[in-house]
């Protein structure tokens, strides 16, 4: 195989793919071909770089140039200027939002400075469709070491010593889980990888599977060796076609190389992996529901115990871990548990991948050491709040989590601190909110999600969440009463206390946490029927300031419902009975004459 002098890495994550990164890749290949450079320069479609805000990303190595928001048309310029003439294309370089200076090298970007990439170590680095690149990065070495040099108990001890906890949300110690499954006696056991990532706004598992599928397969095999399973199943959302495709390729390659299948590395250990598809049910992230779904049933959870470690898939002991958890395993084996445990806080070791989104400049996927503060994430990595607005809160843990306010900006982030703060780690969604976000509406948004995704099996989640949502709806429509706020809290607590599974037990968290931190905002909705953030439509009122209105008729012409009337060059008027509060008039008015109150 030819060795390349230069590598052009094109992000093939879903976000960038949506912006035609595949076309960018093929354009590169065409141009390089024209210059006869195809043998010297390799173009690779990689997994997600994480810096989705500025995608598509193109990185050129070895000089480590980091181009952002590249379009297929830019390729010619990059080839002509950078590759041939050695001049970086300045307009595509990342510009530091604070200093406004160009940053040519990703090392110099704040976005990457504070990150430690363990689970994402190969994302944006290797070609996920080439097993040899993974092997070149110590891939399958951990599996080889485990099979040839360690007993399952020794490996489990290593995982326990590393302090790794489940990254799917609950934070259950991974080593302990493996040990429980190992202890169960059965003729058949299973290893399941939970890739049914469903939190709205979290996509780390998808990125890992798209960018580094072998790390998950390797870890599953190690897990199989430890718990005594020869069969692995990846339960993956059907909505992730690219991840599925890459995973399939990876499984086939691993089989071809003898790293999955019978007698792996001549050790007599057998392990193979199959894919099972989710079909759009958030509750299937819950282990027991996931197992039912894999069995071809409705994804309804059942009461635990019995835990899957005792009675799981097809009634057999089953170890379920999520993608990110697995992705950490090979590194722990290769670098040692002490190394891993040296990162993070006392009870939360290693790193966590967060999907940073919302009102923040650098939307993207980041991997940071446990114990990092929110401030570092939001301001250093995230580049601060979008449009220079004021930070209000950050929502973590998705529909199961809560909001962290300014006062938590300097709290080190780990499992326990987040729970103590009334939120949770969840799968790692981190939604940044600014002063224009209404917290009642946010709570309602998450509840809507739960309502949609509740399986309907238990009463509190099926009916309780519906009633919670109805109360919130009343409040955002200005029909709430102060007593409703007490009722919200009361009902929330009962739902938490009595629901069958994790979904219901955590579903009121967004409500409780916003009630705790933003009670005044709730109060404003119920006492003065106003929305301080100006987001609740029903509580808004559009009018035209006659002093500012020039009668240009722009609003009149753009109003979709004909609610605006008025003569040319005379102040216009909005008919409140017709107004649907769409905001078009505000957007169109050049004179700031439309008032919202």
């Amino acid at each position: 195989m030819a060795e390349y002098n230069m590598h052009i890495l094109v992000c093939g994550g879903t976000g960038c793919k949506a912006s035609e990164s595949e076309l960018i890749k093929s354009n590169f290949q065409h141009r390089l071909n024209e210059f006869g450079l195809s043998d010297e320069i390799q173009v690779v479609l990689t997994g997600c770089f994480g810096f989705c805000e500025k995608g598509p990303i193109v990185k050129i190595l070895p000089d480590n140039t980091f181009y952002t928001q590249v379009t297929p048309e830019d390729v010619t310029e990059i080839v002509n200027e950078h590759i041939i003439k050695g001049r970086k294309v300045e307009r595509l370089l990342y510009r530091d939002p604070e200093t406004h200076e160009l940053v040519g090298d990703s090392k110099g970007m704040d976005f990457y400075k504070k990150q430690i990439r363990i689970a994402l170590r190969n994302c944006g680095f290797i070609n996920p469709e080439n097993i040899e690149e993974y092997i070149g990065r110590d891939g399958y070495a951990a599996l080889g070491t485990c099979l040839s040099e360690k007993t399952p108990d020794e490996v489990i001890e290593m995982i326990k010593d590393s302090g790794l906890r489940g990254r799917g949300g609950g934070g259950f110690p991974t080593g302990l889980k493996w040990q429980l499954t190992r202890k169960s006696v059965s003729d058949q056991k299973y290893v399941v990888c939970n890739a049914d990532e469903g939190d709205p706004g979290a996509f780390m598992d998808r990125s890992i599977l798209e960018g580094d599928p072998h790390s998950v397969l390797e870890a599953m095999a190690i897990c199989g060796y430890c718990v005594g399973a020869d069969k692995g199943l990846v339960y993956i959302r059907a909505e992730y076609p690219l991840a599925i495709e890459r995973l399939k390729i990876a499984i086939n390659q691993a089989r071809e190389y003898g790293l999955l299948g019978d007698d792996i590395l001549g050790t007599g250990f057998n392990f193979d992996v199959e894919i099972r598809y989710g079909a759009g049910a958030f509750v299937c992230g819950e282990e027991t529901a996931l197992i039912h779904s894999m069995e071809g049933k409705r994804g309804e959870p059942t009461v635990k115990p019995p835990f899957p470690a005792e009675k799981g898939y097809n009634g057999k002991p089953t170890n379920v871990n999520n993608v990110e958890t697995f992705a950490n395993i090979p590194v722990i084996i290769n670098k040692g548990p002490e190394w891993f445990a040296s990162i993070g806080t006392e009870k939360s070791k290693g790193t966590k991948v967060f999907a940073l989104a919302g009102k923040i400049n650098n939307v993207g996927l980041i991997e940071v050491p446990m114990g990092i503060t929110l401030r570092e994430i939001i301001y250093d990595i995230g580049g601060g709040i979008k449009d220079g607005r004021e930070f209000k809160a950050v929502q973590t843990g998705g529909p199961s989590g809560g909001c962290l306010t300014k006062s938590f900006l300097d709290t080190p982030i780990d499992y326990d601190n987040l729970v103590a703060a009334g939120s949770m780690m969840g799968s790692g969604g981190m939604i940044v909110l600014d002063d224009t976000d209404c917290m009642v509406a946010i709570a309602k948004f998450y509840l809507e999600f739960t309502l949609d995704e509740s399986c309907g099996k238990c009463t509190p989640c099926r009916i309780g969440n519906k009633r919670l949502h109805e109360i919130l709806e009343k409040i955002t429509e200005g029909n709430g009463k102060v007593e409703d706020l007490d009722r919200l809290r009361l009902l929330s607590n009962v739902i938490k206390d009595t629901s069958l599974c994790g979904l219901g037990q955590t579903s009121p968290n967004p409500v409780l946490s916003t009630l705790d931190h933003f009670y005044d905002e709730y109060l404003a909705h119920v006492t003065t029927a106003s929305c301080p953030a100006g987001q609740c439509k029903a509580l808004m009122h559009y009018s035209i300031d006659p002093d500012k209105c020039t009668g240009c008729t722009l609003c009149f012409r753009n109003c979709p419902v004909g609610a605006i009337s008025g003569e040319r060059r005379a102040p216009h008027y909005i008919d409140q009975s017709l107004c649907i509060k769409c905001g078009v008039c505000v957007a169109k008015c050049k004179f700031d004459a439309v008032l919202i109150g």
Partner: protein, 583 residues
């Protein structure tokens, strides 16, 4: 056996490992309320989805409340069943259910028998603090069952019965979240589905979501119509359960009071389905013997085993699921239909009443009987052999409407000629009974000798699948018994696969047989009630002087006067039927 020590409400209790908190509590007299939970002991029927969350209790050291019905007791557990946290949660959960429930308790078919209503009463709920959207599903009426799933509380009992126990698979949880309910595929009407009308869903439904089609109004109209002669037949299992509706202990035989009540209600003749059961034995028994002898003589066209055909749910079940086996069951009609057929011919002639003016009402422990009586092949020129099939529960309503104080009624006798029966007919009401009755007669006809013993204990019991070999004087006859359609399915699959060892098989759809029928007083999950009814049936048999069907003098007379002989052409025409492929 490992033992577990725990305390419940500060009382220490020792239970076997594997015991639930619910059972542990009940063993020391603490009754934790339950709603979705149901267990029929010894019958392998259990429904514990842990879904309603009414049975939650506080476990020391646990973050949230635990459902008692599906939480195993563990060593050192400290349980509290009525702290303020628990009571508040329990009441809130019930309030939530009520907030999504039609508020028509006063006129609901289940009023007075509703477990949700009882629960609201038990918890002293006086106000529902939650209001909002309610489920909006349409009502579905079939020949036997009404579904009003706006009253469904997702306890899933019906789903368990329909799928796990009966393996019919009509009902399933559908949709999700707030819209989740239990319904047939595509929310189709039951009468488009493969529903057998066994009624076990109705028997276990805690609310008014599943109820029977009420025909009491039609019966009252018939009774008040002077042009009609209204006669009634009562199935054997009814007399062993009707008393429960009037507060009498389970297992009380109320045959005489039932007859008295029916007479007071205005029925012109009070007859007994048992008479027709004896008739069934003669027809079915003869058919069995014919097939048996032909088989033994090597006739390759004869198929064995022969299957009983008294149970209409079972008949519909194999018509849907095993149509290729439809020539295996006996062609004998069920006792209800034999009765109707004889009543509207032989008896109508006897009392000189035109068929159209004779109304035959049957009192059945069963919902499928309503459907059976409506099958077109059981009517002549649109006039059904059996006009109305009421359940035991409907009869109780009628008696109440008649202002009859049931408990103090005298014992009265059935009318002749269709009221006389033997002990063999009585045991039709329980699993194993039909085949035992058939053995009593077949043995004597086959061997030409009197039975050395009359009680066949080996055919009795509550196990879902039973088998026995009866020595017919040197010829071993292998008999299989199944109750519950899931068990029946296993036997049918054996037959399909060609390795059934049996000569004859008795099948009843309902767990326990007709005593556990879908039309019986609600057992509310108490299997003891079924066992007591069974004991009552066997004691009625023992108390009879005549205990073999062929000894019933009125049956003998019927053949002499009217039918000729069992399996005669006339008998064929009036007492036998054929089956349809409904797959």
């Amino acid at each position: 056996m490992e033992m577990i020590n725990l305390t419940i409400d500060h009382k220490p209790v020792v239970v076997r490992k594997g015991t639930t908190v619910l059972k542990a509590a009940s063993s020391i007299g603490i009754d934790i309320p339950t709603l979705c939970y149901m267990k029929l002991d010894d019958m392998n029927i259990e429904n514990k989805p842990g879904g309603c969350r009414v049975c939650v209790v506080e476990v020391k050291g646990r973050r949230n409340l635990a459902p008692a019905c599906c939480t195993e007791a563990t060593e050192g557990m400290e349980i509290s069943t009525h702290t303020i946290r628990v009571v508040n949660a329990r009441r809130t959960v019930v309030e939530l259910i009520l907030s999504d429930h039609p508020a028509d308790c006063l006129i609901c078919a289940k009023s007075g028998n509703c477990e949700l209503q009882d629960m609201a009463h038990h918890l002293g709920i006086r106000q529902i603090h939650y209001e909002g959207a309610k489920s909006m599903y349409r009502e579905d009426t079939s020949p036997a069952i009404i579904r009003d799933i706006n009253k469904c509380i997702m306890c899933r009992r019906c789903e368990t019965m329909c799928n796990d126990v009966q393996t019919v698979g009509v009902l399933s949880a559908i949709n999700r979240g707030f819209n989740a309910v239990v319904a047939p595929a595509f929310e189709m009407n039951l009468d488009h589905s493969v529903c057998t009308y066994c009624g076990q869903c109705v028997a276990v439904c805690p609310t008014g979501a599943l109820t029977e089609v009420d025909q009491t109004g039609a019966v009252i109209r018939a009774l008040s119509d002077p042009t009609k002669t209204v006669i009634v037949q009562t199935a054997p299992a009814v007399r062993a359960a009707l008393g429960e509706e009037f507060g009498m202990p389970a297992g009380t035989l109320v045959t005489g009071k039932m007859v008295a009540a029916l007479r007071r209600l205005g029925f012109d003749y009070v007859f007994d389905t048992d008479f027709a059961a004896d008739l069934t034995i003669l027809e079915e028994g003869t058919e069995l013997l014919n097939r048996l002898s032909a088989f033994m003589e090597g006739d390759k066209n004869v198929k064995l085993p022969i299957l009983t055909s008294c149970c209409p749910a079972w008949v519909k079940f194999f018509e849907h699921s095993f149509p290729e086996l439809k020539d295996i069951p006996s062609t004998a009609r069920s006792p209800q239909q034999m009765f109707g057929s004889i009543a509207k011919t032989y008896f109508a002639d006897k009392i000189n009443v035109k068929r159209e003016n004779l109304v035959v009402v049957s009192i059945m422990p069963c919902l499928a009987k309503k459907y059976e009586s409506s099958r077109p092949e059981f009517s002549v020129n649109g006039n059904p052999d059996v006009d109305y099939a009421l359940t035991t529960r409907e009869l109780a309503h009628l008696i109440n409407l008649g202002n009859i104080e049931f408990k103090s009624l005298p014992n009265e006798e059935f009318d002749a000629p269709l009221g006389e029966s033997t002990g063999a007919a009585v045991i039709f009401g329980t699993t194993g009974g039909v085949i035992e009755a058939a053995v009593r007669t077949a043995y004597e006809i086959f061997t030409g000798k009197p039975l050395p013993r009359i009680d066949f204990e080996e055919l009795r019991g509550m196990d879902g699948l039973r088998k026995a070999t009866i020595d017919f004087n040197g010829t071993p006859i292998h008999i299989g018994i199944a109750h519950g359609l899931g068990n029946a399915r296993k036997l049918l699959e054996d037959i399909q696969a060609g390795h059934s060892e049996f000569h004859a098989i008795e099948i009843m759809s309902c767990p326990g047989g007709c005593i556990g029928g879908g039309g019986q007083p609600y057992h509310h999950g108490n299997a003891e009630i079924l066992k007591k009814r069974q004991r009552a049936i066997y004691s009625e048999d023992r108390n009879k002087i005549l205990r073999k069907s062929h000894e019933n003098p009125y049956i003998v007379k019927l053949y002499e006067e009217f039918l000729g002989a069992p399996m005669s052409e006339k008998a064929h025409h009036l007492l036998h039927t054929k089956y349809f492929d409904r797959s």
